[in-house]
Amino acid sequence: MQKLKDFLKGFGETFKHQSTEYIEFEERELENVFAIILMGSFIGIPSPPTTLVIRLLPHMTRELYIIQRRAVEMDDILGELAGLFDIT
């Protein structure tokens, strides 16, 4: 009985996860864009007011983490997209 419960729970979790997969991807991308806009001066994009950037920086832990991970996974962006759209 417990096994069946666990199985159903796992089943549900998968659905739950699948349902937000796209939104999660979108959210990560937006966070990435947000961070890139703020840190643009590192890569030559005109940056927003310096005051604003340095005031926001202390709160940007997650965005910086995302931007870093994004850079690491840069070579497999197609892979991620393919996974997202169930292309195998």
């Binding site: 937006l30 604003l52 340095i54 920086l57 202390p58 983490y65």
Partner: protein, 330 residues
């Protein structure tokens, strides 16, 4: 009395702008002495990194307002100190938050930051804001500004910063919307970094980034509101009766108009009047005549006053009061 130089409902802010060396500092000093004599509690602040306000008053000034006479206070912004103090505070703040992050070498970054383009404008704006926030201590605040270029940048900054803040708020809102949508199905989202678990903020009120963005926006908006309000702000342009200062004043007039900052008075300083003809000065006098006749056409509806070239440098309080009186009274 020129109404636009006097406080109306709240304190009055006067920006004295102009090309380098035309007599901005002397004019603003004179104006503030005259205002103080009339009984208005006046603060004159030099924003120019090449300070010479102290030289006009013949005293040493610091970044704290110093009492020079009844109702008259003066200070000079210490830009280097301002930038240093500002960065130091931030560096401390950042180091605590990012001790586990090695992506960016913060110390190096901060070394560079104090030389980053634009930092002076931002620091100036920040300083102006701080003075305006406690502006109710004064009746009139006179800003002696750096040469036109930098001043126009500083005066344009609030508008530009507002656009940036609005766009960033928009993106942030989208992020938070997504987070809320995810949390509805998956529950609170956690994020682990450096062994610390952080719950992702999803409401605007609890998101630190959004809070900071909004705080910044309202601070900038305050400055923008003050400097575009004709009841609270006036710009006085100082120029010499020569072609180049005229062109520059015209350009300043146009860009201030674009940013909605009230421009009220042109002071033509160092107008030469000679009793007898000196051939060596004839070319200069001809040019002066041309500028003086053209000036009224170009600045329609704006007060123009001429101040003659004096036989001696107008320094010291008495001289300044006389000079300022003619600017204030018309």
């Amino acid at each position: 009395m020129r109404e636009y130089l006097l406080p109306k409902e709240e304190f009055r802010t006067v920006f004295v702008i102009g090309k380098g060396g035309v007599g901005k500092t002397t004019t603003s000093a004179a104006l503030s002495v005259a205002l103080a004599k009339k009984g208005y509690r006046t603060l004159i602040v030099s924003l120019d990194p090449a300070h010479n306000l102290g030289d006009v008053f013949m005293v040493k000034l610091t970044d704290k307002p110093k009492k020079l006479a009844e109702n008259l206070y003066a200070s000079e912004l210490d830009m280097e100190k301002l930038i240093k103090g500002y960065l130091k505070h931030l560096e401390k703040n950042l180091k605590n938050m990012y001790r586990y992050l090695t992506v960016i070498n913060l110390e190096k970054y901060f070394e560079v930051l104090s030389y980053s383009p634009g930092i002076e404008e931002y620091a100036t704006l920040e300083a102006v804001r701080e003075i305006l926030v406690s502006g109710n201590e004064w009746d009139v605040i006179v800003f002696d500004t750096p040469p036109t270029g930098l001043t126009l940048r500083v005066l344009a900054l609030p508008r530009i910063s507002l656009i940036w803040a609005d766009r960033l708020i928009e993106i942030r809102r989208k992020i938070l919307e997504r987070r809320r949508a995810i949390a509805k199905i998956q529950g609170e989202q956690k994020f682990v970094v450096g062994g610390e678990e952080i719950t992702l903020a999803k409401e605007e009120e609890e998101d630190a980034v959004m809070k900071e963005l909004k705080a910044y926006r309202s601070e900038v908006e305050f400055v923008e509101r003050v400097i575009t309000d004709p009841d609270r702000t006036s710009v006085v342009a100082v120029m010499n009766p020569e072609m180049l200062p005229l062109y520059e004043t015209e350009r300043a007039y146009e860009s201030l108009k674009k940013f909605g900052i009230p421009f009220n008075l042109v002071v033509v300083n160092k107008v030469i009047t000679l009793e007898k003809d000196i051939p060596e000065l004839r070319v200069k006098l001809d040019a002066q005549k041309k500028v003086l006749s053209g000036i009224e056409k170009r600045f329609r509806g704006i007060d123009i006053i001429r101040i003659p070239m004096f036989a001696e440098e107008p320094r010291g309080l008495e001289w300044l009061e006389k000079l300022g009186g003619s600017v204030l009274e018309g």
